[in-house]
Amino acid sequence: MSRTASNESTPDARQGRSDFDPSRAWDEGGAEDVPTLDVSYFPGCSGHSTGREYEQSARIVCAALEIQLHEIEDWSCCGATSAHATDEELAVALGARNLCLAEAQGLAHVVTPCAACFSRLKHAQAHIEEHGSPLGLPDVTGSARVVHLLDLLADPGRLLMLERLRSTDLGALAVVPYYGCLITRPPAITGSGSPENPTSMDLILERIGVQVKRWPYKTRCCGSSLAMTRSDLVEKLCTTLVSMAVRAGAEAIVAACPLCFVNLDTRQRGERAVPIFYFTELMALSMGLDGARKTLRMHHVSPVAVLESKGVM
């Protein structure tokens, strides 16, 4: 079956199933048979600033796994929290503008690494399906399906490729997967079939030779947009998350959102600083990709010591 077949959408598709359906993207076979995938790419504003590690590692990982990222021409900010907090119409319009540009690229999927961007684009897509394009934007159908990078990389075909390309032993580094809020919630918008206990990142981490510890805070909030205003509250939330990770036996926390990452990396106030990784950084390290180590020097809490203790660096 061709990968563009996943373009179909039914109302059911939004009620508990991701918009990226691996069974449609790839008929089971060997890792050699996994097709190259072309997707529209929405990097989000943090890609060139606070989330540089994520953007750089995501790009090299996608290239290694034969996913071509076609950056949306002249993309703009999704509006993030501030737009939907204060102006619903503006929030929809800012998300929809990007979906209009993506649809013009004619690809089946729009992929974004940021959980907040993912959420806003999904909300805009739901709006377009129900009411059409907001005024002032071209007429579109919302046919380009919005997918979070995690779902794209956790499909069985890519996992097989990942296993085959794995070359570096990560020394059984003990980690907890942290999904945060907006990758799975609310499920009516995200299509998550398991909003309380997502497993896509677990699947990836299990393939690259790290120990995945169980913990109860997979989807607990980091405080997100309050970081700059009520940093006291964000520090509390992040410190609680980090101390629970330590109690679970983790040496590091793995994130899949640039906002979660920055909050955990810079706002934890526990006795011992715990390094945070993007899941794509660990994937890049395990495949021994060029540039995999470069991003590790951009962290606030340096992960170098823990990686050295595992013989990785």
Partner: protein, 188 residues
């Protein structure tokens, strides 16, 4: 939350806020039977004066001033736990957005002025550049709040690691962005 805040009768006069929310957000808070799952999972449960289930009850009772002045409207981080767990599928996070917008429109003084200022400068920045420009946004926020030294440590660390660009990255079609913002404003 004092327990007696949630007691009372729904009278015809109390329906105004309920129907206003229904019209604006499409969500019917009349469906709430006070199971308190929203409050049990609320990220900000320990910080807010009125828990989410109590806010809903106050809406049902038509207590507009208390609802629109609640600090929950500003401390809510939109984590979507309440909306995901409600047994009656009430999208409460959406309602909180709607109530915040109603409180701004009604000219209610935000209980957390810094958070309100943050949203304002973020949107000003997006309107101007089409994308986030952190340094510009931070400068505007500091001018608004007067908190010049707050967070200097984290800011320096981000800067040292090359995570705060000196120059903004601008969208080419800024006219279109400005038009989207203008349309949003004409409604107000």
């Amino acid at each position: 939350m004092a327990p007696d805040e949630t007691r009372g009768e729904i009278t015809p006069g109390s329906q105004r806020l309920l129907s206003l929310i229904r019209n604006r957000s499409g969500v019917d808070l009349g469906q709430c039977f006070q199971c308190r799952k929203c409050s049990a999972g609320c990220t900000m449960a320990l910080e807010v004066e009125t828990l989410p289930h109590a806010l809903v009850r106050l809406v049902q009772l038509g207590q507009e001033d208390e609802v629109l002045g609640s600090n929950l409207l500003w401390l809510c981080v939109s984590c979507q736990s309440c909306s995901s767990r409600c047994p009656n599928s009430i999208d409460l996070a959406r309602v909180v957005d709607t109530l915040r917008q109603l409180s701004l429109e009604a000219g209610v003084q935000p209980s957390e002025p810094e958070i309100a200022a943050f949203h304002e400068v973020v949107l000003e920045t997006i309107c101007r550049h089409g994308r986030m420009y952190e340094l510009g946004m931070i400068a505007r926020l500091k001018m608004k709040t007067g908190e010049y030294t707050k967070d200097a440590g984290v800011g320096m660390s981000l800067f040292r690691h090359g995570k705060l660009r000196l120059l903004a990255s601008n969208v080419r079609d800024r006219e279109q962005i400005a038009a989207l913002f203008d349309r949003g404003r004409t409604r107000e």
